[in-house]
Amino acid sequence: MQDPALFEYVLRLSDDSLILGQRLGEWCGHGPILEEDIALTNISLDLIGQAISLYDFAAELEGAGRNHDQLAYLRFENEYKNVLLVEQPNGDFAMTILRQFFFDAFRLPLYEALMQSPVEQLAAIAAKSVKETRYHLKHTSEWVIRMGDGTDESHQRAQAAIDHLWRYTNELFYEDAHDRTLQAAGLVPKMAAIQTKWTDTVTAVLNEATLAIPTNNWKFEGGREGRHSEHMGYILSDLQYMQRAYPNMEW
């Protein structure tokens, strides 16, 4: 492999998109209103679409002859590098929207920065995905505000989701030697810059929603290194079912 750091970087982006898209797909047919069923499915579809482009690029970087499906479907759990946040269960609608909001608020500035990357393919994927992500963030921000400033029940549910998910947000800005290599070469942005923008967005939206930013400082991580929560195995059981039960077949 010519560039293991870049491969790892793109794989993380791919896995985040895939696992979150997979989670959102569970909502299909069960949304709280028909319009929202369509919106959640649409976000899921966008994420799966992004995952396809990203895995294609990762496969090319790897140069081992694997394709996007082999990367997406045929790795072991500790080889998936998504953050813990995206594998957390859907919970109620508040939990799903807050998980998505925290992710979108991270993804948008990240894609905006990656559009400037000298890695052309990465910049191109970012440019295409940034439009979708902007819409996702708008949609989830609006729901966070509606829930926070809606009824007592919706406020409580939104706050409970924030308090629960907060521990997973720090991992979004994880960096290791791979990141630092790419950053030193000027290929990808520093996570500190993304985190500043994330904090601005989250603070503004939660303030408008009359929701509190948690004071707890728990920082869960492990996903970026392939150490996942108990939920991940179940996600992969569904995701990989067909590929594992019927190996080497085309669908």
Partner: protein
């Protein structure tokens, strides 16, 4: 204008193929028939999301996952247009949905059959969407304007779904023996329920006559069913799948395929709520409605607060 005069004008429009529009006078029974039929169609789209939606997380590759997500999303969109078309007749969407939950309003019985293998997803696309298209193409010329226009858009998407379903079965039928067997098994289970989608036979159909006169329906249930069988036999042959009917054969004199009598007992049992998944489907829809109540309340409360702030 007397009622007799209004009715004469209404029938004249029907005769001249002029669409009836929401603000036009129409007989109450025409209105009620349309609300019943359109809402039943909308409910079918929404309940139809469930058996296919079950396979989104298990789709065998990323492309199939994306295609299935897009398809199920289209169905939700069809449900929306159709509820909107019913609302132009004075119906209320939430009331219509409640009528389905209580069993007062029906949805297509096909969705009370389980989707148990991946081949079911392709088969649903091919046979179920195929049968739906037979009905729906005829409805593009239905006499009520908003319904006809909704159907034009829906038909385009449905025929796309049917092609995708068929294409996914081509993959299975040209694949391994396991894949081919999976496709045949799905065919065996879905063939008869697909034929049942056209409703009771003409002799038993309570709503048909008047609907044909009003040009809500353009063809009878049996005519559409026959067209579907005629169109599908050669498609099954190309796939190399056997249609599970020993009496299926070409009748030169009629210019159509003959086929066995449908098991009407099963048909009526499923309509009455005793199909394999009737309870699960309604339970899933009810749960979505109940779980979503606080979300809808929050959206309403927020909209009111914002409206008050604006006017303040």
């Amino acid at each position: 204008m007397t009622q007799a005069e209004q009715e004469r004008r209404f029938l004249e429009k029907i005769e001249k193929e002029i669409k009836i529009e929401p603000n036009d006078w129409m007989p109450d029974e025409y209105r009620q028939t349309l609300i019943r039929q359109i809402s039943q169609h909308a409910h079918s789209e929404i309940v139809g999301m469930l058996p296919e939606g079950n396979w989104i997380t298990r789709a065998p590759n990323l492309r199939r996952k994306a295609v299935l997500l897009a398809k199920v999303q289209d169905e939700a969109g069809h449900g929306l247009y159709l509820y909107s078309a019913a609302e132009t007749l004075g119906a209320d969407r939430e009331q219509l949905i409640d009528d389905m939950h209580t069993g007062k309003a029906k949805y297509s019985s096909i969705f009370n059959y389980p989707a148990v293998t991946w081949a079911d997803i392709g088969t649903i696309g091919w046979l179920v969407d195929g049968a739906a298209i037979m009905n729906q193409v005829a409805l593009c010329r239905t006499s009520y304007g908003p319904y006809a226009r909704a159907m034009v858009k829906i038909c385009k998407e449905e025929s796309f779904h049917q092609r995708q379903g068929y294409e996914s079965l081509i993959k299975l039928c040209n694949g391994t023996p396991q894949q081919k067997a999976m496709a045949q098994d799905a065919m065996n289970r879905f063939w008869w329920p697909a034929l049942m989608m056209f409703g009771p036979s003409d002799a038993e159909s309570t709503h048909s006559d008047q609907s044909i006169k009003w040009k809500i329906k353009r063809f009878t249930n049996d005519e559409l069913r026959q067209s579907f069988v005629d169109a599908t036999v050669s498609q099954a042959e190309i796939l190399g799948l056997t249609i599970p009917d020993p009496n299926l054969k070409w009748n030169e004199a009629r210019g159509h395929y003959d086929f066995s009598e449908i098991n009407w007992d099963e048909f009526w049992q499923v309509v009455k709520g005793n199909g394999p998944c009737n309870k699960e489907r309604i339970a899933a829809r009810l749960k979505a409605k109940e779980d979503g109540l606080w979300v809808r309340e929050a959206a309403n409360a927020f909209a009111k607060k914002r409206a008050m702030k604006k006017s303040a």
